[in-house]
Symmetry: C2
Subunit: 103 residues, 2 copies
């Protein structure tokens, strides 16, 4: 469940969100988007947890891979649905992972 990412540098997209009430198709789309993300060039891994606040972090080998995923047609539809139905507020941060260590 902790993403097995390569040696830095690589990139992270931190997506922090607050949900609306009810599912409204969110669960199914969430599963679909994770499966689709895993198929994209440059995808390195994903980590997610929700406890009121939701945090999803996807890892990528380049900023170009992140731009391509953001522009994916089905993902664009999901982003639009997210703003219309699923999220009251979200923030996306594009980051360069410079160092990491683990236990």
């Amino acid at each position: 469940m902790i993403a097995n990412t390569p040696q830095p540098p690589y990139y992270a997209v931190i997506f922090t969100s607050l949900r609306t009430e009810g599912d409204n198709g969110y669960g199914a789309m969430s599963v679909e988007m994770e499966e689709l993300a895993r198929q994209q060039p440059g995808f390195l891994g994903v980590e997610a947890a929700r406890e009121g606040l939701g945090i999803t972090i996807s890892y990528w080998d380049s900023t170009e891979a992140i731009k391509n995923w953001k522009a994916n047609a089905r993902h664009l539809f999901a982003q639009q649905q997210g703003r219309q139905k699923w999220y009251t507020h979200y923030k996306t941060r594009i980051c360069k992972v410079e160092r990491d260590y683990e236990f």
Copy 2:
């Protein structure tokens, strides 16, 4: 609950963890460490969620602020306790936030 961070660039520490069974003093130390982190120079915010996997992201204005927090005496004790009692596995990633946007 979504951290109100300034315009990039700034820094993020992504701490992803898997817990041992039971509390063993974790809850109290977790509260203490968040309060202490908020008092450190350069601290910008924190976001956290646990759902099996735990994700805590703290935001900082510089890598020096991150180094100082990592070397804080009480935090060093908490890190040691974490390896001995609270975590079966963790990964820490030091990141530069290059862009962000929100809804």
